[in-house]
Assembly symmetry: C2
Homo-oligomer: 303 residues x 2
Protein backbone atom coordinates (compact mmCIF):
# COMPACT_ATOMS: atom_id res chain seq x y z
CA UNK A 1 0.00 0.00 0.00
CA UNK A 2 1.40 3.36 -0.99
CA UNK A 3 0.29 6.61 0.62
CA UNK A 4 0.74 9.59 -1.67
CA UNK A 5 1.17 13.07 -0.18
CA UNK A 6 1.83 16.15 -2.26
CA UNK A 7 4.90 17.55 -0.48
CA UNK A 8 8.16 15.55 -0.41
CA UNK A 9 9.04 16.92 3.03
CA UNK A 10 5.73 15.61 4.43
CA UNK A 11 6.27 12.19 2.87
CA UNK A 12 9.70 12.10 4.47
CA UNK A 13 8.22 13.12 7.82
CA UNK A 14 5.57 10.39 7.62
CA UNK A 15 8.25 7.83 6.82
CA UNK A 16 10.56 9.03 9.57
CA UNK A 17 7.92 9.30 12.33
CA UNK A 18 5.74 6.42 11.21
CA UNK A 19 2.77 8.61 12.04
CA UNK A 20 0.70 11.41 10.49
CA UNK A 21 1.27 13.82 13.34
CA UNK A 22 -0.66 16.67 11.77
CA UNK A 23 -3.92 14.99 10.76
CA UNK A 24 -4.05 11.69 12.65
CA UNK A 25 -1.82 11.97 15.68
CA UNK A 26 -1.30 8.94 17.88
CA UNK A 27 -2.03 6.41 15.17
CA UNK A 28 1.05 4.46 14.00
CA UNK A 29 1.18 3.92 10.24
CA UNK A 30 1.25 0.18 9.53
CA UNK A 31 4.60 -1.01 8.17
CA UNK A 32 2.84 -2.04 4.96
CA UNK A 33 1.97 1.59 4.18
CA UNK A 34 4.73 3.39 2.30
CA UNK A 35 4.50 7.17 2.04
CA UNK A 36 5.67 8.77 -1.19
CA UNK A 37 5.41 12.18 -2.85
CA UNK A 38 5.66 10.65 -6.33
CA UNK A 39 2.16 10.10 -7.68
CA UNK A 40 3.44 7.93 -10.50
CA UNK A 41 5.10 5.58 -8.05
CA UNK A 42 1.95 5.39 -5.94
CA UNK A 43 -0.45 4.86 -8.84
CA UNK A 44 1.41 2.89 -11.47
CA UNK A 45 0.76 -0.64 -10.24
CA UNK A 46 -2.27 0.03 -8.09
CA UNK A 47 -5.41 -2.05 -8.60
CA UNK A 48 -7.40 0.33 -6.40
CA UNK A 49 -6.79 3.99 -5.59
CA UNK A 50 -8.53 5.92 -2.81
CA UNK A 51 -8.60 9.64 -3.57
CA UNK A 52 -9.30 11.87 -0.57
CA UNK A 53 -7.99 15.26 -1.64
CA UNK A 54 -10.07 18.39 -1.00
CA UNK A 55 -12.62 19.04 -3.76
CA UNK A 56 -10.79 22.08 -5.07
CA UNK A 57 -7.76 19.91 -5.86
CA UNK A 58 -9.74 17.00 -7.28
CA UNK A 59 -9.51 17.83 -10.98
CA UNK A 60 -5.79 18.54 -10.85
CA UNK A 61 -5.12 15.35 -8.94
CA UNK A 62 -7.25 13.18 -11.22
CA UNK A 63 -5.64 14.76 -14.31
CA UNK A 64 -2.22 13.81 -13.02
CA UNK A 65 -3.48 10.37 -11.96
CA UNK A 66 -4.88 9.82 -15.44
CA UNK A 67 -1.38 9.68 -16.81
CA UNK A 68 -0.33 6.87 -14.48
CA UNK A 69 -3.32 4.69 -13.64
CA UNK A 70 -3.44 1.30 -15.31
CA UNK A 71 -6.50 0.39 -17.35
CA UNK A 72 -9.27 -1.17 -15.30
CA UNK A 73 -7.98 0.09 -11.97
CA UNK A 74 -10.69 1.07 -9.50
CA UNK A 75 -10.86 4.65 -8.29
CA UNK A 76 -12.50 5.18 -4.91
CA UNK A 77 -13.53 8.79 -4.40
CA UNK A 78 -13.75 9.84 -0.77
CA UNK A 79 -13.82 13.56 -1.54
CA UNK A 80 -17.02 15.37 -0.52
CA UNK A 81 -18.10 18.33 -2.61
CA UNK A 82 -18.80 19.64 -6.08
CA UNK A 83 -16.59 21.24 -8.69
CA UNK A 84 -17.89 24.78 -8.61
CA UNK A 85 -17.31 25.76 -12.24
CA UNK A 86 -19.67 23.18 -13.77
CA UNK A 87 -21.31 21.83 -10.59
CA UNK A 88 -19.95 18.37 -11.23
CA UNK A 89 -19.85 15.63 -8.65
CA UNK A 90 -16.42 14.28 -7.79
CA UNK A 91 -17.03 10.96 -9.57
CA UNK A 92 -17.88 12.90 -12.72
CA UNK A 93 -14.59 14.75 -12.49
CA UNK A 94 -12.79 11.44 -11.97
CA UNK A 95 -14.51 9.84 -14.96
CA UNK A 96 -13.60 12.77 -17.20
CA UNK A 97 -9.96 12.79 -16.22
CA UNK A 98 -9.31 9.06 -15.78
CA UNK A 99 -11.44 7.38 -18.46
CA UNK A 100 -9.44 4.14 -18.21
CA UNK A 101 -10.49 3.60 -14.58
CA UNK A 102 -13.66 2.29 -13.02
CA UNK A 103 -15.05 4.92 -10.64
CA UNK A 104 -16.64 4.28 -7.24
CA UNK A 105 -17.59 6.51 -4.33
CA UNK A 106 -17.00 5.85 -0.63
CA UNK A 107 -19.25 7.55 1.91
CA UNK A 108 -20.85 7.11 5.30
CA UNK A 109 -20.37 7.93 8.98
CA UNK A 110 -16.64 7.40 9.50
CA UNK A 111 -14.50 9.81 11.48
CA UNK A 112 -10.93 8.85 10.53
CA UNK A 113 -9.74 8.83 14.13
CA UNK A 114 -12.37 6.28 15.11
CA UNK A 115 -11.72 4.11 12.04
CA UNK A 116 -8.06 4.09 13.02
CA UNK A 117 -9.08 3.03 16.53
CA UNK A 118 -11.03 0.14 14.98
CA UNK A 119 -14.37 1.34 16.30
CA UNK A 120 -17.13 -0.54 14.46
CA UNK A 121 -17.88 1.55 11.39
CA UNK A 122 -20.30 1.02 8.50
CA UNK A 123 -19.96 2.81 5.16
CA UNK A 124 -21.25 2.55 1.60
CA UNK A 125 -19.39 2.13 -1.67
CA UNK A 126 -21.50 3.28 -4.58
CA UNK A 127 -20.93 2.71 -8.26
CA UNK A 128 -22.93 2.18 -11.40
CA UNK A 129 -20.34 -0.56 -12.03
CA UNK A 130 -21.60 -3.24 -9.67
CA UNK A 131 -18.51 -5.42 -10.06
CA UNK A 132 -16.24 -2.48 -9.17
CA UNK A 133 -18.30 -1.70 -6.06
CA UNK A 134 -18.08 -5.33 -4.98
CA UNK A 135 -14.32 -5.37 -5.50
CA UNK A 136 -13.99 -2.35 -3.22
CA UNK A 137 -16.31 -3.96 -0.72
CA UNK A 138 -14.11 -7.06 -0.56
CA UNK A 139 -10.86 -5.09 -0.51
CA UNK A 140 -11.76 -2.67 2.29
CA UNK A 141 -14.05 -4.69 4.55
CA UNK A 142 -13.00 -6.29 7.73
CA UNK A 143 -14.86 -7.25 10.87
CA UNK A 144 -14.78 -3.70 12.24
CA UNK A 145 -15.06 -1.73 9.00
CA UNK A 146 -18.21 -2.77 7.17
CA UNK A 147 -18.61 -1.72 3.55
CA UNK A 148 -22.05 -2.00 2.00
CA UNK A 149 -22.54 -1.64 -1.74
CA UNK A 150 -24.97 0.55 -3.64
CA UNK A 151 -25.59 1.63 -7.21
CA UNK A 152 -26.77 5.12 -6.26
CA UNK A 153 -23.74 7.31 -6.90
CA UNK A 154 -25.78 10.52 -7.23
CA UNK A 155 -27.50 10.01 -3.89
CA UNK A 156 -24.32 9.09 -2.03
CA UNK A 157 -22.28 12.00 -3.38
CA UNK A 158 -24.99 14.60 -2.99
CA UNK A 159 -25.68 13.55 0.59
CA UNK A 160 -21.98 13.44 1.41
CA UNK A 161 -21.44 16.94 0.10
CA UNK A 162 -24.51 18.59 1.59
CA UNK A 163 -23.98 17.25 5.09
CA UNK A 164 -21.09 19.69 5.44
CA UNK A 165 -23.41 22.62 4.83
CA UNK A 166 -25.90 21.41 7.44
CA UNK A 167 -23.01 20.76 9.83
CA UNK A 168 -21.95 24.39 9.66
CA UNK A 169 -25.50 25.38 10.64
CA UNK A 170 -25.47 22.83 13.47
CA UNK A 171 -22.20 24.30 14.70
CA UNK A 172 -23.69 27.78 14.68
CA UNK A 173 -26.54 26.54 16.91
CA UNK A 174 -23.97 25.13 19.33
CA UNK A 175 -21.89 28.27 19.25
CA UNK A 176 -24.91 30.42 20.07
CA UNK A 177 -25.71 28.15 22.99
CA UNK A 178 -28.82 26.46 21.66
CA UNK A 179 -29.41 22.92 22.89
CA UNK A 180 -30.00 19.42 21.60
CA UNK A 181 -33.67 20.05 20.75
CA UNK A 182 -32.71 22.72 18.27
CA UNK A 183 -29.95 20.69 16.64
CA UNK A 184 -32.28 17.69 16.28
CA UNK A 185 -34.83 19.87 14.47
CA UNK A 186 -32.10 21.25 12.21
CA UNK A 187 -30.84 17.76 11.31
CA UNK A 188 -34.38 16.74 10.40
CA UNK A 189 -34.89 19.74 8.17
CA UNK A 190 -31.38 19.39 6.79
CA UNK A 191 -31.94 15.83 5.67
CA UNK A 192 -35.26 16.88 4.14
CA UNK A 193 -33.72 19.57 1.97
CA UNK A 194 -30.74 17.39 1.06
CA UNK A 195 -33.14 14.64 0.02
CA UNK A 196 -35.15 17.03 -2.12
CA UNK A 197 -32.04 18.03 -4.01
CA UNK A 198 -30.59 14.53 -4.30
CA UNK A 199 -33.85 13.07 -5.59
CA UNK A 200 -34.24 15.94 -8.07
CA UNK A 201 -30.74 15.10 -9.31
CA UNK A 202 -31.66 11.43 -9.75
CA UNK A 203 -30.68 9.97 -6.37
CA UNK A 204 -32.74 7.38 -4.52
CA UNK A 205 -34.64 8.25 -1.32
CA UNK A 206 -33.30 5.05 0.29
CA UNK A 207 -29.75 6.31 -0.01
CA UNK A 208 -30.66 9.50 1.81
CA UNK A 209 -32.24 7.48 4.62
CA UNK A 210 -29.16 5.26 4.79
CA UNK A 211 -25.59 5.39 6.01
CA UNK A 212 -24.40 7.85 3.35
CA UNK A 213 -27.34 10.17 4.05
CA UNK A 214 -28.86 10.14 7.51
CA UNK A 215 -25.92 8.29 9.08
CA UNK A 216 -23.23 10.65 7.92
CA UNK A 217 -25.37 13.73 8.59
CA UNK A 218 -26.03 12.69 12.19
CA UNK A 219 -22.35 11.97 12.76
CA UNK A 220 -21.21 15.26 11.30
CA UNK A 221 -23.79 17.32 13.20
CA UNK A 222 -23.55 15.64 16.61
CA UNK A 223 -20.15 13.91 16.85
CA UNK A 224 -17.46 15.95 18.50
CA UNK A 225 -14.88 15.94 15.79
CA UNK A 226 -16.25 17.34 12.54
CA UNK A 227 -14.36 20.28 11.08
CA UNK A 228 -17.37 21.91 9.44
CA UNK A 229 -19.29 21.86 12.67
CA UNK A 230 -16.32 23.31 14.48
CA UNK A 231 -16.23 26.14 11.95
CA UNK A 232 -19.91 26.83 12.61
CA UNK A 233 -19.33 26.79 16.37
CA UNK A 234 -16.70 29.48 16.02
CA UNK A 235 -19.02 31.60 13.88
CA UNK A 236 -21.90 31.12 16.31
CA UNK A 237 -19.64 32.18 19.17
CA UNK A 238 -18.97 35.47 17.40
CA UNK A 239 -15.73 34.87 15.55
CA UNK A 240 -15.25 36.06 11.99
CA UNK A 241 -14.90 33.58 9.14
CA UNK A 242 -11.19 34.41 8.85
CA UNK A 243 -10.63 33.83 12.58
CA UNK A 244 -12.59 30.59 12.46
CA UNK A 245 -10.63 29.31 9.47
CA UNK A 246 -7.25 30.10 10.97
CA UNK A 247 -8.02 27.84 13.95
CA UNK A 248 -7.88 24.56 11.96
CA UNK A 249 -5.45 23.12 9.40
CA UNK A 250 -8.27 21.14 7.79
CA UNK A 251 -10.43 22.16 4.87
CA UNK A 252 -14.06 22.92 5.72
CA UNK A 253 -15.64 21.70 2.50
CA UNK A 254 -19.00 23.14 3.52
CA UNK A 255 -17.90 26.65 2.62
CA UNK A 256 -17.54 25.82 -1.06
CA UNK A 257 -20.38 23.31 -1.05
CA UNK A 258 -22.80 25.97 0.16
CA UNK A 259 -22.31 27.84 -3.10
CA UNK A 260 -22.73 24.72 -5.20
CA UNK A 261 -25.83 23.70 -3.22
CA UNK A 262 -27.57 27.02 -3.83
CA UNK A 263 -26.79 26.89 -7.53
CA UNK A 264 -27.97 23.28 -7.81
CA UNK A 265 -31.11 24.15 -5.86
CA UNK A 266 -31.89 26.88 -8.39
CA UNK A 267 -31.12 24.63 -11.35
CA UNK A 268 -33.40 21.87 -10.05
CA UNK A 269 -36.06 24.24 -8.65
CA UNK A 270 -35.75 22.84 -5.14
CA UNK A 271 -36.14 24.81 -1.88
CA UNK A 272 -33.05 24.64 0.34
CA UNK A 273 -33.58 27.19 3.10
CA UNK A 274 -30.65 26.04 5.26
CA UNK A 275 -28.17 26.18 2.39
CA UNK A 276 -29.54 29.60 1.41
CA UNK A 277 -29.07 30.99 4.92
CA UNK A 278 -25.57 29.50 5.19
CA UNK A 279 -24.65 31.13 1.92
CA UNK A 280 -25.72 34.47 3.35
CA UNK A 281 -23.66 33.88 6.50
CA UNK A 282 -20.51 32.59 4.79
CA UNK A 283 -20.47 34.71 1.69
CA UNK A 284 -22.61 37.78 2.37
CA UNK A 285 -21.86 38.64 5.98
CA UNK A 286 -25.26 37.84 7.52
CA UNK A 287 -25.09 37.47 11.30
CA UNK A 288 -25.19 33.72 12.16
CA UNK A 289 -27.85 34.23 14.80
CA UNK A 290 -30.19 35.95 12.37
CA UNK A 291 -29.71 33.12 9.92
CA UNK A 292 -30.54 30.30 12.31
CA UNK A 293 -33.39 32.17 13.95
CA UNK A 294 -34.87 32.68 10.49
CA UNK A 295 -34.63 28.91 10.00
CA UNK A 296 -35.80 27.68 13.38
CA UNK A 297 -38.50 30.21 14.16
CA UNK A 298 -40.38 30.39 10.87
CA UNK A 299 -44.14 30.75 10.75
CA UNK A 300 -46.25 27.71 11.55
CA UNK A 301 -47.48 25.23 9.00
CA UNK A 302 -48.05 21.52 8.64
CA UNK A 303 -44.80 19.57 8.73
Amino acid sequence: VRLWVREPARAEELRARGENAKYLPGVPLPASVQPTARLEEAAREADAIIVAVPSEHARGTYRELGRHVKAGAVLISATKGFELERLLRMSEVAAEEVPAARVTVLSGPSFAQEVAQEQPTAVVVASTDVAAAEEVQRALSNRRFRVYSSQDVVGAETAGALKNVIAIAAGILDGIGYGHNTVAALITRGLAETSRLAVAMGGRPDTLAGLAGLGDLVLTCTGGLSRNRRLGQALGAGRTLAEALSASPMVAEGIRTTIAACELAARHAVEMPIAAQMRRVLHEGLAPREAVDALMLRSLKRE
Copy 2:
Protein backbone atom coordinates in the same frame (compact mmCIF):
# COMPACT_ATOMS: atom_id res chain seq x y z
CA VAL B 1 -53.42 25.96 34.07
CA ARG B 2 -53.63 23.10 36.51
CA LEU B 3 -50.85 20.58 37.00
CA TRP B 4 -52.10 17.25 38.25
CA VAL B 5 -49.78 14.96 40.20
CA ARG B 6 -50.86 11.70 41.74
CA GLU B 7 -49.63 12.15 45.31
CA PRO B 8 -51.05 14.93 47.53
CA ALA B 9 -47.70 15.36 49.30
CA ARG B 10 -45.98 16.02 45.96
CA ALA B 11 -48.62 18.52 44.92
CA GLU B 12 -48.10 20.29 48.20
CA GLU B 13 -44.33 20.27 47.69
CA LEU B 14 -44.66 21.72 44.18
CA ARG B 15 -46.91 24.46 45.53
CA ALA B 16 -44.62 25.24 48.45
CA ARG B 17 -41.35 25.23 46.51
CA GLY B 18 -42.70 26.61 43.26
CA GLU B 19 -40.48 24.10 41.50
CA ASN B 20 -40.46 20.43 40.51
CA ALA B 21 -37.24 19.65 42.35
CA LYS B 22 -37.27 15.94 41.50
CA TYR B 23 -37.86 15.99 37.74
CA LEU B 24 -37.15 19.53 36.57
CA PRO B 25 -34.88 21.18 39.11
CA GLY B 26 -33.98 24.82 38.69
CA VAL B 27 -37.05 25.73 36.69
CA PRO B 28 -39.54 27.92 38.57
CA LEU B 29 -43.17 26.96 38.02
CA PRO B 30 -45.02 29.94 36.52
CA ALA B 31 -47.52 31.49 38.91
CA SER B 32 -50.31 30.57 36.49
CA VAL B 33 -49.62 26.86 37.03
CA GLN B 34 -51.51 25.43 39.99
CA PRO B 35 -50.49 21.98 41.23
CA THR B 36 -53.23 19.71 42.51
CA ALA B 37 -53.60 16.05 43.41
CA ARG B 38 -57.32 16.05 42.58
CA LEU B 39 -57.80 14.91 39.00
CA GLU B 40 -61.40 16.08 38.95
CA GLU B 41 -60.34 19.61 39.88
CA ALA B 42 -57.66 19.60 37.18
CA ALA B 43 -59.82 18.16 34.42
CA ARG B 44 -63.33 19.43 35.02
CA GLU B 45 -63.15 22.74 33.19
CA ALA B 46 -60.17 22.05 30.97
CA ASP B 47 -60.48 22.66 27.23
CA ALA B 48 -57.19 20.84 26.63
CA ILE B 49 -55.46 18.18 28.72
CA ILE B 50 -51.88 17.04 28.25
CA VAL B 51 -51.35 13.50 29.55
CA ALA B 52 -47.75 12.53 30.17
CA VAL B 53 -48.01 9.60 32.55
CA PRO B 54 -45.86 6.49 31.95
CA SER B 55 -47.49 4.04 29.53
CA GLU B 56 -48.21 1.47 32.21
CA HIS B 57 -50.43 3.99 34.02
CA ALA B 58 -52.11 5.32 30.89
CA ARG B 59 -55.28 3.24 30.96
CA GLY B 60 -55.93 3.85 34.64
CA THR B 61 -55.38 7.58 34.26
CA TYR B 62 -57.58 7.87 31.17
CA ARG B 63 -60.29 5.81 32.84
CA GLU B 64 -60.34 8.21 35.77
CA LEU B 65 -60.13 11.20 33.43
CA GLY B 66 -63.08 9.87 31.46
CA ARG B 67 -65.33 10.56 34.44
CA HIS B 68 -64.36 14.25 34.60
CA VAL B 69 -63.50 15.51 31.12
CA LYS B 70 -66.05 17.76 29.48
CA ALA B 71 -67.39 16.77 26.07
CA GLY B 72 -65.27 18.05 23.18
CA ALA B 73 -62.18 18.67 25.27
CA VAL B 74 -58.91 17.94 23.51
CA LEU B 75 -56.64 15.26 24.92
CA ILE B 76 -52.95 15.61 24.07
CA SER B 77 -51.08 12.36 24.62
CA ALA B 78 -47.38 12.83 25.29
CA THR B 79 -46.90 9.26 26.57
CA LYS B 80 -44.54 7.10 24.51
CA GLY B 81 -45.21 3.39 24.41
CA PHE B 82 -47.79 0.68 23.85
CA GLU B 83 -50.25 -1.05 26.13
CA LEU B 84 -48.71 -4.49 26.36
CA GLU B 85 -51.85 -6.57 26.80
CA ARG B 86 -53.41 -5.69 23.43
CA LEU B 87 -50.50 -3.79 21.82
CA LEU B 88 -52.57 -0.62 21.64
CA ARG B 89 -51.10 2.79 20.96
CA MET B 90 -51.66 5.39 23.68
CA SER B 91 -54.17 7.36 21.60
CA GLU B 92 -56.19 4.18 21.16
CA VAL B 93 -56.28 3.70 24.93
CA ALA B 94 -57.34 7.35 25.33
CA ALA B 95 -60.10 7.02 22.77
CA GLU B 96 -61.46 3.89 24.44
CA GLU B 97 -61.52 5.41 27.91
CA VAL B 98 -62.50 9.01 27.10
CA PRO B 99 -64.90 8.74 24.16
CA ALA B 100 -66.21 12.26 24.75
CA ALA B 101 -62.80 13.82 24.04
CA ARG B 102 -60.94 14.57 20.84
CA VAL B 103 -57.58 12.78 20.91
CA THR B 104 -54.28 14.17 19.65
CA VAL B 105 -50.66 13.08 20.03
CA LEU B 106 -47.65 15.29 20.78
CA SER B 107 -44.21 14.11 19.74
CA GLY B 108 -40.85 15.32 18.54
CA PRO B 109 -37.36 16.21 19.78
CA SER B 110 -38.03 18.02 23.03
CA PHE B 111 -36.04 17.41 26.19
CA ALA B 112 -38.16 19.00 28.94
CA GLN B 113 -35.22 20.80 30.49
CA GLU B 114 -34.43 22.56 27.21
CA VAL B 115 -38.07 23.43 26.56
CA ALA B 116 -38.15 25.00 30.02
CA GLN B 117 -35.02 26.99 29.14
CA GLU B 118 -36.82 28.24 26.01
CA GLN B 119 -34.36 26.65 23.62
CA PRO B 120 -35.89 26.69 20.12
CA THR B 121 -37.82 23.44 19.86
CA ALA B 122 -39.99 22.01 17.08
CA VAL B 123 -42.56 19.27 17.65
CA VAL B 124 -45.53 17.68 15.92
CA VAL B 125 -49.14 17.36 17.02
CA ALA B 126 -50.86 14.54 15.16
CA SER B 127 -54.55 13.79 14.99
CA THR B 128 -57.06 12.37 12.56
CA ASP B 129 -59.20 15.30 13.78
CA VAL B 130 -57.55 18.16 11.87
CA ALA B 131 -59.40 20.85 13.80
CA ALA B 132 -58.27 19.40 17.11
CA ALA B 133 -54.64 19.29 15.94
CA GLU B 134 -54.86 22.90 14.87
CA GLU B 135 -56.35 23.93 18.21
CA VAL B 136 -53.41 22.33 19.99
CA GLN B 137 -51.02 23.96 17.57
CA ARG B 138 -52.44 27.40 18.37
CA ALA B 139 -52.65 26.76 22.12
CA LEU B 140 -49.08 25.48 22.61
CA SER B 141 -47.04 27.37 20.02
CA ASN B 142 -44.93 30.34 20.76
CA ARG B 143 -41.87 31.81 19.11
CA ARG B 144 -39.53 29.30 20.75
CA PHE B 145 -41.79 26.23 20.84
CA ARG B 146 -42.94 25.43 17.33
CA VAL B 147 -45.81 22.97 16.91
CA TYR B 148 -46.40 21.51 13.45
CA SER B 149 -49.57 19.58 12.68
CA SER B 150 -49.94 16.19 11.06
CA GLN B 151 -52.69 13.65 10.47
CA ASP B 152 -50.42 10.63 10.89
CA VAL B 153 -51.11 9.44 14.41
CA VAL B 154 -49.85 5.91 13.76
CA GLY B 155 -46.50 7.11 12.43
CA ALA B 156 -45.96 9.64 15.20
CA GLU B 157 -46.82 7.23 18.02
CA THR B 158 -44.90 4.29 16.63
CA ALA B 159 -41.78 6.38 16.06
CA GLY B 160 -42.06 7.97 19.49
CA ALA B 161 -42.30 4.60 21.19
CA LEU B 162 -39.60 2.79 19.22
CA LYS B 163 -36.98 5.49 19.64
CA ASN B 164 -36.66 4.44 23.29
CA VAL B 165 -35.67 0.92 22.23
CA ILE B 166 -33.02 2.21 19.83
CA ALA B 167 -31.80 4.63 22.51
CA ILE B 168 -31.10 1.76 24.89
CA ALA B 169 -28.95 0.16 22.16
CA ALA B 170 -27.19 3.49 21.57
CA GLY B 171 -26.47 3.73 25.27
CA ILE B 172 -24.99 0.24 25.28
CA LEU B 173 -22.60 1.29 22.50
CA ASP B 174 -21.53 4.27 24.61
CA GLY B 175 -21.15 2.17 27.71
CA ILE B 176 -18.92 -0.32 25.91
CA GLY B 177 -16.77 2.54 24.67
CA TYR B 178 -17.69 2.49 21.00
CA GLY B 179 -17.53 5.85 19.25
CA HIS B 180 -19.65 8.19 17.18
CA ASN B 181 -19.27 6.15 13.96
CA THR B 182 -20.93 3.17 15.57
CA VAL B 183 -23.79 5.17 17.07
CA ALA B 184 -24.45 6.87 13.71
CA ALA B 185 -24.72 3.48 12.01
CA LEU B 186 -27.07 2.28 14.74
CA ILE B 187 -29.33 5.32 14.42
CA THR B 188 -29.53 4.73 10.67
CA ARG B 189 -30.48 1.09 11.10
CA GLY B 190 -32.79 1.98 13.97
CA LEU B 191 -34.79 4.43 11.92
CA ALA B 192 -34.97 1.88 9.10
CA GLU B 193 -36.50 -0.82 11.28
CA THR B 194 -38.80 1.64 13.02
CA SER B 195 -39.99 2.86 9.62
CA ARG B 196 -40.65 -0.67 8.43
CA LEU B 197 -42.88 -1.30 11.42
CA ALA B 198 -44.63 2.07 11.33
CA VAL B 199 -45.42 1.79 7.62
CA ALA B 200 -46.65 -1.79 8.06
CA MET B 201 -48.98 -0.45 10.77
CA GLY B 202 -50.29 2.27 8.43
CA GLY B 203 -47.94 5.16 9.20
CA ARG B 204 -46.52 7.47 6.54
CA PRO B 205 -42.82 7.38 5.57
CA ASP B 206 -42.75 11.20 5.74
CA THR B 207 -43.55 11.11 9.43
CA LEU B 208 -40.65 8.79 10.10
CA ALA B 209 -38.31 11.13 8.22
CA GLY B 210 -39.66 14.11 10.17
CA LEU B 211 -39.48 15.60 13.64
CA ALA B 212 -41.43 12.80 15.35
CA GLY B 213 -39.28 10.14 13.67
CA LEU B 214 -35.72 11.04 12.72
CA GLY B 215 -35.67 14.19 14.88
CA ASP B 216 -36.70 12.54 18.10
CA LEU B 217 -34.54 9.46 17.46
CA VAL B 218 -31.42 11.57 16.92
CA LEU B 219 -32.11 13.57 20.05
CA THR B 220 -32.69 10.53 22.19
CA CYS B 221 -29.63 8.67 20.90
CA THR B 222 -27.11 11.55 20.90
CA GLY B 223 -28.36 14.18 23.34
CA GLY B 224 -26.90 13.91 26.81
CA LEU B 225 -30.05 13.66 28.82
CA SER B 226 -32.20 10.76 27.69
CA ARG B 227 -33.13 8.25 30.35
CA ASN B 228 -33.30 5.24 28.04
CA ARG B 229 -29.84 5.95 26.71
CA ARG B 230 -28.55 6.34 30.24
CA LEU B 231 -29.98 2.92 31.09
CA GLY B 232 -28.18 1.44 28.08
CA GLN B 233 -24.92 3.13 29.08
CA ALA B 234 -25.09 1.50 32.48
CA LEU B 235 -25.76 -1.91 30.92
CA GLY B 236 -22.92 -1.44 28.43
CA ALA B 237 -20.59 -0.53 31.28
CA GLY B 238 -21.33 -3.87 32.92
CA ARG B 239 -24.06 -3.07 35.42
CA THR B 240 -27.06 -5.33 35.84
CA LEU B 241 -30.53 -4.19 34.84
CA ALA B 242 -31.50 -3.86 38.51
CA GLU B 243 -28.46 -1.72 39.27
CA ALA B 244 -29.06 0.43 36.20
CA LEU B 245 -32.72 0.97 37.09
CA SER B 246 -32.01 1.94 40.68
CA ALA B 247 -29.80 4.82 39.48
CA SER B 248 -32.69 6.91 38.09
CA PRO B 249 -36.11 7.93 39.39
CA MET B 250 -37.46 8.11 35.85
CA VAL B 251 -39.23 5.41 33.89
CA ALA B 252 -37.25 3.95 30.99
CA GLU B 253 -40.16 3.24 28.64
CA GLY B 254 -37.87 1.34 26.29
CA ILE B 255 -37.88 -1.71 28.54
CA ARG B 256 -41.59 -2.30 28.07
CA THR B 257 -41.61 -1.03 24.50
CA THR B 258 -39.02 -3.61 23.49
CA ILE B 259 -41.52 -6.37 24.25
CA ALA B 260 -44.31 -4.62 22.36
CA ALA B 261 -42.01 -3.94 19.40
CA CYS B 262 -41.06 -7.59 19.03
CA GLU B 263 -44.68 -8.69 19.22
CA LEU B 264 -45.75 -6.06 16.69
CA ALA B 265 -42.87 -7.05 14.41
CA ALA B 266 -44.10 -10.64 14.45
CA ARG B 267 -47.71 -9.60 13.90
CA HIS B 268 -46.79 -7.44 10.89
CA ALA B 269 -44.06 -9.78 9.58
CA VAL B 270 -41.40 -7.08 9.79
CA GLU B 271 -37.72 -7.62 10.61
CA MET B 272 -36.55 -5.63 13.65
CA PRO B 273 -33.09 -6.91 14.54
CA ILE B 274 -32.27 -4.15 17.03
CA ALA B 275 -35.49 -4.62 18.97
CA ALA B 276 -34.94 -8.38 18.92
CA GLN B 277 -31.43 -8.06 20.36
CA MET B 278 -32.59 -5.56 23.00
CA ARG B 279 -35.30 -7.96 24.06
CA ARG B 280 -32.65 -10.63 24.58
CA VAL B 281 -30.52 -8.23 26.63
CA LEU B 282 -33.32 -6.80 28.77
CA HIS B 283 -35.48 -9.84 29.24
CA GLU B 284 -33.33 -12.91 28.58
CA GLY B 285 -29.97 -11.99 30.07
CA LEU B 286 -27.92 -11.76 26.84
CA ALA B 287 -24.62 -9.91 27.35
CA PRO B 288 -25.01 -6.38 25.91
CA ARG B 289 -21.73 -6.61 24.02
CA GLU B 290 -22.78 -9.79 22.25
CA ALA B 291 -26.04 -8.15 21.26
CA VAL B 292 -24.55 -5.03 19.71
CA ASP B 293 -21.70 -6.92 18.06
CA ALA B 294 -24.30 -9.17 16.47
CA LEU B 295 -25.99 -6.03 15.15
CA MET B 296 -22.99 -4.01 14.05
CA LEU B 297 -20.77 -6.76 12.69
CA ARG B 298 -23.23 -8.79 10.63
CA SER B 299 -22.22 -10.32 7.32
CA LEU B 300 -21.90 -8.04 4.32
CA LYS B 301 -24.67 -7.29 1.89
CA ARG B 302 -26.04 -4.41 -0.10
CA GLU B 303 -27.40 -1.67 2.10
